[in-house]
């Protein structure tokens, strides 16, 4: 039982990271109907920005954090204008290829500027964690879980109860109709890219103290986050969160009770099962709304 509790905590912690990145995937997909394969690199770039300001320049942690997130917002703008906007009238394939190209460019640019050395980024807390009975709670994982909960609530409120959120939803459901109703589609898509980049960056900043800061950190998380979005149903915000958490828990329990080397295998086995038997994901895409 102690073992299961410990695994559950870790599973939810790592699953929350997948969920945060998956959320970025979903928001972009809803707005543009394309998958942004550079979402993982957003996490990596944010973590490196944090290293530059907090470690290299020695600026206060909170200030470096805000600058890193602001940097991600700027990257979201550049990404929208440089990668999506020129190809917005083409089919989804060139855009997807452009996002893959952008992800390679981002990874190699950071490699060229910062070098290949992984970096250490300390967490927010002095104490690495707390022992609660038989379960050790890592403070960084606690923070990740807390941020995920806050973001889920925020997303619900933002998309369902604010005018901007409703405009974003309208844009994602039917761009032409939204445009006819006077919504600036380009602005809505720009906001979505900025928000997704900030979300991806936030995931990177939160997970960096656990996984260290490396060029590969983004792609490793993004692969799982991508699987999470498929499990949750592409285009479904709640699905991304549930998919991410489910994936984290499945792989952690699978590793502990069946086989550690096949840990990633469990995640992708579940993915394949979903693709075969329920390609629309846990909740299913609201096709009627798209029509």
């Amino acid at each position: 039982m102690d073992l299961a509790l410990q695994l559950l905590f870790t599973g939810i912690g790592i699953g929350s990271v997948y969920a945060l990145v998956a959320l970025g995937f979903v928001l972009i997909f809803r707005a543009t109907n394309v998958v942004n394969f550079a979402q993982g690199e957003f996490s990596m770039v944010a973590a490196y920005l944090m290293v530059v300001f907090a470690v290299d320049l020695g600026w206060p942690y909170w200030l470096s954090f805000l600058i890193a997130l602001a940097g991600m917002a700027l990257l979201g703008v550049i990404f929208n204008l440089g990668v999506y906007y020129p190809l917005r009238h083409r089919t989804f394939l060139p855009v997807i290829i452009a996002t893959i190209g952008a992800s390679i460019l981002l990874a190699n640019s950071v490699l060229a500027i910062y070098g290949p050395q992984p970096q250490v980024l300390e967490g927010w807390f002095e104490t690495p964690g707390i022992q609660l009975g038989p379960v050790y709670l890592d403070s960084q994982y606690l923070l990740i879980i807390a941020v995920t909960i806050v973001l889920v609530i925020f997303n619900y409120w933002f998309f369902e109860h604010t005018m901007l959120g409703k405009k974003l939803q309208a844009t994602s459901q039917d761009k032409e109709m939204a445009s006819l109703l006077g919504i600036s589609v380009s602005s809505m898509i720009m906001i979505t890219f900025v928000y997704s980049a900030v979300l991806g960056g936030l995931a990177g900043l939160l997970v960096a103290p656990i996984l260290f800061v490396s060029i590969q950190m983004g792609s490793t998380i993004a692969l799982k986050a991508f699987a999470a979005t498929i499990i949750g149903g592409f285009g479904d915000v709640a699905g991304a969160i549930i998919g991410g958490l489910a994936l984290g828990i499945i792989e952690t329990f699978g590793a502990a009770y069946i086989s550690v080397p096949y840990k990633d295998g469990f995640a992708f086995l579940v993915l394949v099962l979903f693709l075969v038997f329920r390609p629309q994901g846990i909740f299913g895409e609201r096709v009627a709304e798209k029509a």
């Binding site: 410990q6 695994l7 790592i14 190699n108 992984p118 050790y136 656990i210 060029i215 952690t252 550690v260």
Partner: protein, 385 residues
């Protein structure tokens, strides 16, 4: 046959073209032979890019010394690198690019056993000497006469880890954690065999896949096994850093004797206090010999960072290779091969090289301890067989 005016013009034009281009061709041919070329497949991108940088550092340091001392066969030596991307397809491609350059006389390969396995068939086809650092014992048992190892293999590291843990630390209940790649699997197997011989069969043998983001299940398995000592074979320093932190966080504080990555510069930097008090087998230990000390000083002076095995093995490989080509008096592959095999009692940064018929140069390991981040030499254990 009647020679027309057109034919005459064509012959004349060809003649002029040849006479104009001939000096250029000769110059180019001379330029090609102006240096002795050594190829090197090295990770410039991918998860081991940092280690790749250290490897190039080591090779270049040796190259500078060789060139300063007059080069090889009276010519300067030139290093040509290709990115292996830290992947098997990457190294096969990188090696094929280098192999296509016929004037490259020999090569430095990878420190990663998996990748040396991937390139081994092409090495056999090309039939030119390749120096490598992978420690899977099987690599020199493939019957490939062109592979030469510049680090001790894991049949030695397994025996040294087992020997030190059982006899010096007095621990008999072992948990083994290893990567599931060629290096980790072979290392874990070698350690298990050595422990069985010492009457201390492991209570846990746990593999993990490279690039793991979470080791909680592995740590909990160690905890549950009741092991009182841990032996490990980690391939990537990043994985080792994450594991070390989680191991200590989840309250496992048993002694730990690891393969060389546990004392690598990146690992000690990433894991910090989580690795304090651990032991490691290290092919490179700065205080183990005068040659190791001299390399360490030269490396620090040149690159302002601490030396480790990532830089020391290519340094030795380049030094021994250049000495062998000089001794062979020729760049003919078979003559270089014989000269490397004849290398005995050669004092390198990693230890004393005595090549056996399989192409293994080193036959022992150093035990070192992480004392608050400083890697301190403890003792050298050498085997005759």
């Amino acid at each position: 046959m009647k020679l027309t005016r057109r034919d005459f013009s064509a012959v004349l034009a060809a003649g002029i073209a040849t006479s104009v281009s001939a000096p250029a061709l000769l110059r180019s041919a001379r330029a090609q032979g102006a240096t002795i070329k050594i190829g090197m497949t090295v990770p410039i991108t991918g998860p081991a890019a940092e280690q790749g940088k250290y490897a190039v550092n080591g090779a270049k340091l040796a190259l500078e010394a060789v060139n300063k001392a007059g080069g090889v066969l009276g010519k300067q030596v030139e290093l040509i690198t290709e990115d292996d991307q830290t992947t098997n397809p990457g190294i096969v491609l990188a090696f094929s690019k280098l192999a296509a350059q016929s004037d490259i006389v020999a090569f430095l390969g990878s420190i990663r056993s998996t990748q040396v396995h991937a390139m081994a068939p092409d090495v056999l086809k090309l039939a030119k000497p390749v120096m490598f650092g992978g420690t899977d014992p099987n690599l020199t048992k493939l019957g490939n006469p062109w592979l030469f190892r510049f680090r001790p293999n894991d049949s030695y590291s397994g025996r040294v880890i087992a020997d030190y843990g059982v006899k010096t630390l007095g621990k008999k209940k072992w948990a083994i954690v290893h990567s599931t790649d060629a290096f980790g699997t072979a290392g874990g197997k070698a350690l298990t065999e050595a422990l069985v011989k010492l009457d201390a069969p492991p209570v846990l043998d746990q593999g993990y896949a490279n690039q793991s983001q979470d080791f909680t299940p592995v740590v909990l398995a160690i905890k549950q096994s009741g092991a009182d000592v841990l032996g490990s074979y980690f391939t990537f320093e990043n994985d080792l850093g994450i594991f070390a932190r989680q191991l200590r966080q989840l309250g496992v504080n048993i002694p730990w004797v690891g393969s060389p990555s546990i004392v690598a510069v990146s690992s000690t930097k990433l894991a910090g206090p989580a690795l304090f008090g651990t032991y490691g087998v290290a092919d490179y230990a700065e205080d183990s010999s005068p040659a190791a000390k001299a390399f360490g000083k030269a490396y620090r002076d040149a690159y302002k960072i601490a030396p480790d095995n990532q830089g020391s093995w290519p340094f030795d490989a380049m030094t021994v290779l250049c000495a062998a080509v000089n001794k062979a008096g020729s760049t003919e592959p078979e003559k270089i091969r014989q000269a490397i095999l004849a290398t005995q009692k050669f004092p390198g940064a990693e230890g004393e090289y005595n090549f056996d018929k399989n192409g293994d140069g080193l036959h022992g390991y150093n035990i070192v301890k992480n004392e608050k981040g400083n890697i301190v030499f403890d003792k050298h254990i050498e085997f005759d067989n």
